[in-house]
């Protein structure tokens, strides 16, 4: 059927953008828009994944329950913010510091980049297991290492007061390299002129750092920070494998709580409303990100 083929080719030639993007857009739509609509629908219903009883309309009841009656939810919300704030802050400060220290000529830059790549791509379940072993209160190497400088011993992820910082350390180990690589890329593109004129004006190295380097790096750093914040809000693998939200509920972030409510207690309605709240948090940070990328900051 040459005529049909030729007609189709002409159509593609006239409308390349819609035709090229159509398959991807349809699949993204089906894979993602259906679940989003379903979650929104379920968030105003009560339903226990039962084939006998249909979902019951409860309006905003799930949300009221979360914010008014559910201590476990408020705990999870706070832990999510605590984990995200601490992890993002630590990773940005460490990552940028590392980049500044490494931004000098030396042989073996490729090797350094390879090493930085490893924590980011290593399988999170494997990472979580190794850190569990290292954190083990009786045989773990972490207590031995902090003992060398006179600290500890700690119970790490088995201690409710320490579990979040201990998990933040794991996430920081995994993702600080990303910030470093982004900051290094930013440092490589810095113009030389401001430094030269600052030198002529007699500026010190510290002044040049605060007045020139940091402001020029800021856009890259802020974008990296927001990307990390978005991913930290959704951290699941390492928390679920290492603590399952424990001890007690001491590391049960919103994501882990929603998982338990939805896929352990099968309260689909309530879990959906929790996910709507989590998504609202993520969306808030995302909107900030989009604003920054448009250069409004």
């Amino acid at each position: 059927m040459p005529s049909v083929g030729a007609g189709w080719s002409r159509f593609v030639e006239r409308h390349p953008a819609p035709v090229f993007t159509f398959p991807a857009v349809v699949v993204v739509f089906v894979l993602m828009v259906f679940p989003v609509l379903y979650t929104l629908y379920m968030s105003v219903h009560s339903w226990f994944a039962s084939s006998v009883t249909a979902p019951e309309w409860v309006g905003l009841g799930n949300f009221r329950r979360a914010f008014v009656d559910d201590d476990r939810f408020r705990n999870a919300l706070w832990l999510t913010v605590y984990f995200t704030g601490l992890a993002t802050l630590l990773q940005v400060v460490l990552g940028v510091t590392l980049a500044l220290l490494l931004n000098r000529p030396f042989r073996g830059k490729g090797l350094v980049r390879s090493i930085f790549l490893l924590p980011m791509v290593a399988t999170p379940v494997a990472i979580a297991l190794v850190w569990m072993m290292m954190y083990n209160p009786t045989l773990g190497v972490m207590n031995y290492l902090v003992g060398l400088v006179g600290l500890g011993p700690y119970k790490w992820v088995s201690n409710a007061a320490v579990v979040i910082p201990a998990l933040v350390v794991v996430d920081t180990w995994e993702w600080t390299p990303l910030i470093t690589l982004i900051a290094l890329a930013g440092l490589a593109t810095l113009p030389l002129e401001p430094y030269e004129s600052a030198k002529i004006d007699g500026a010190s190295a510290t002044q040049m750092f605060w007045r020139i380097t940091l402001p020029l790096l800021r856009p890259a750093i802020i974008v990296a920070l927001l990307f990390r914040a978005i991913d930290c809000l959704k951290t699941f693998d390492i928390i679920y494998v290492m603590t399952q939200g424990g001890p007690g509920f001491a590391s049960e972030t919103l994501n882990v709580y929603a998982f338990q409510v939805g896929l352990f207690y099968f309260h689909i309605g309530y879990a959906s409303s929790l996910l709507v709240i989590l998504f609202a948090l993520v969306l808030g940070v995302s909107l900030l990100l989009i604003k920054v990328r448009r250069g409004a900051w």
Binding site: A17, P23, Y38, T39, P105, P119, V282
Partner: protein
Amino acid sequence: MSASSRSGERVSGWTYVLIVVLMVPFLFPLFWMFLSSLKTQVQNTAYPPVLAFTPTLDNYREVFQKNPFFTFAWNSLVVAAGSTGLALLLGLPGAYAIARFKRTGIALAILTARMAPGIGYLIPWFILFTKAKLIDTYTALILTHLIVALPLVLWVMIGFFEDVPGELIEAGRIDGCTHWAAFLRIAIPLAKPGIVATGILAFIFSWNNFLFSLIVAGFKTRTLPIAVYNFLSYEEINWGGLTAAATVITLPVLALALLVQKHIVRGLTLGAMKG
């Protein structure tokens, strides 16, 4: 500081000492994982930790003998290859068109999809797959992994396709290339390193995926991360076996990443660097 680094300052020995000191923490957990996998249970539970010991491969032997580890690896491979292949097939033309015809609206929608929490996607699909009796099938696993892979391919490849010089495409168009031919014969070959890196990145994320496989995979399609996670439920944790299994699932990923490290770094940082 950055200015002085470019004026060709001499590299002192202290620089290398500093770099080694900075790199050790990032290598240590992986080193410890590998080291523990070569120790006996007695050596692994000793405190303070044993550093001098005769390495043994017994843990690896045990992992492969006591578990259908090759089946798990095969399952991981099928799902990762399937979702990566599909994501590239669907995503490459899309990313090319978004980059070339400046469809920023679509790009933004995809970014939003990337941001949503995975469990929000998982619960509806879990219910649908249960009704359709698709739980514990490759189809369901590949589809859920595509939720991660497709936005990743689209988002990262937009950046790589933007690097393809527009003049080359224009020149091809003047020589009579259709849009499709320009995409296939000019853009794809020029973006090939980026495509390879993006494919490997998508493969790695699927291979590493825990959350979706935990719910959607069953006994027949269990992937490696879930198999290793299940080792934890044993009464007494066998640390040697556990770290041996962790080493076995991590090693292919690390090797793949190092193979194309330069472009992978670009791919990983692209999302944050563009715009």
